[in-house]
Amino acid sequence: MDMILQCRGLTKRYDKLTALDNINLDLPAGHIIGLLGPNGSGKTTFIKLVNGLLSPNSGDIKIGGFAPGVETKRIISYLPEQSYLNDWMKVQDIVDLFADFYDDFSKERAYDMIQRLQIPPEAKLKTLSKGTKEKVQLILVMSRQARLYILDEPIGGVDPAARDYILNTIISNYDPSASILISTHLISDIENVLDYVVFLRYGQVCMTGEVDEIRSREGKSIDSIFREVFKC
C-alpha cells in the first residue's frame, strides 16, 4: 500500500509538557483519515509538525517521501483551526493570491463554490460572519488539487447545517487518489466519511487502522469506541 505520510519516533515537547511522545505512523494514500482524540491529545501539534510550522524535538516525518519543506507545501493543502487570512482583503483578492502561489489551484472551482454559497466575491473578509469566513477558507483549501488535504477541526465552530455543507464540500471536491487527514473530536458527524482512523491520547497513538476493520472487530461504531477509550 502507498503511504502518503510516515513518521518515526516523532516527539514534540513544549517546555515540560510532552505534546507528542515517540509517534510512529504510516498513513495510507487515497484514504479519508480521521485524526481523533480529545482536546489536548496532540492533534494540532501533529498537524503543525507535518506542515513544518513547528520543529520536532526528535524523530522525522515524510510526506510523499519528502521532509516538510517547499516540496511538501506544494502537495499539502492545509486548513488550520483559526482563520489565517487577512481581514481587510476581499474574497476575490484571496482567490487571486492562492492562484498566484499554488499551481494546482483552480479558480473556476473556487468561484463555483463561492457562487453556490452566495458569497459576494468583492466582499471584504471582515464584513463576513465567522461561519462564512470559515467556508471561504475551506473553499480555498478544497480548490487545490493537492495530494494531501489536512483539515484541522473543520467542523468545530460551525452550526450543524454548515457542518453538512463543509463535509459535502470535502467529499465532493477531492480527487480519490488524494488523501484527507481530518482532525476532530466530533466523531459522530464525520464517522460515515472516514476510511481510516488514528486515535491519539496524551500525545501517543493508542489505536490505528481501517474503519471497517475496527468496527467489525469491536462490534461498535467509531464514536462508541471513542467514548470508551476517552471516558473521563
Binding site: L53, S55, G69, V70, K73, Q82
Partner: protein, 257 residues
Amino acid sequence: MAAVSRYLLPLHGVLILLTLVGRLLVSVTKTTALPRYVSTTCLIIYTLYIIFVACATIIYLISYFYKTMYGLEGYLTFTLPAKPWQLLASKTISAVLWELIDGVLVVLSIITLVMTKEVWTAAINELPDIFSRFQETYGFGLGTGIILPMVFCALASLTQGMLFFYLCLSIGQLSNKHRVAIAVGAFFGINIILQIISTTMVFSILPNSSYLYGRSGIEELASLPRFLWTGFGVSVLLCVVFWLITNYIMNRKLNLL
C-alpha cells in the same frame, strides 16, 4: 508590498500635504504678516508629524513582520510553497524600500520648506566650484569619495537595522511564553554585546593610529572615505550574520503556536 502600502501611503500622503500647506504659508508670510503663534504652531505640528511618521513607519514595519510571520497569518505565509529565505527577502526588500521612501520624503519635505529660490540659485551656481575645489584639496571627488559611500552606508545600515529587528522577533518566537518580551530582551542583549565588541575594537585600534596625535580638519576629512567604507563593510557583515541566524531559525526552529 500592497499590504504595507495600505497604511504607509496615507501616512506619507499627509506629510506631503503638510509640506504643501507649509510652503503656502511660507509664501504668504512674504507678503502678509501672520501672527507669530500661527507660524510657531505650524512648525511644532510639522516637526511632531515628521517624528511621528518616522517612528510609525518603523513600528508598523516591525509589527507587520511579526503579524505575517509569527502571528496567525504565519500559518498562511509558512505554508506557501516558498523557501524561508525567499519570505525573508521579500519582507526585507519591502521594508527597506519603505524606509527609503520615508527618508527621502522627509528630506525632500524639509528642503521644500527651507530652500528659497535665491538659495537654490546660489547652490546650483556654487556646486561645480565646490566639487572641483574639494577634488583639488583632498585628492578625491566629493561624489565618489563622500556621497557615494554615504549612500551605501545608509542603505546597509537601514537593511542591518531591519534585519536586526527580524532576528530579535525570530529569537522571541522560539519561546512558548512571553515571546514579545523575549524579543525585546534579545534586542537590548544583542545591542549591549555589539556595543562592547565595537568599543573594544575602537580602543584597541586607536592607540596605534595617528588619530590621537592632533590631526587637522583636512586630515580628518581626507580619511573620511576610509571610515565610511569600513562602516559599510561592518554593516554588510552584520546584515549577513543577522540574515543567516534568522534564516536558520525560520528553517529549523519555527515555533508557530
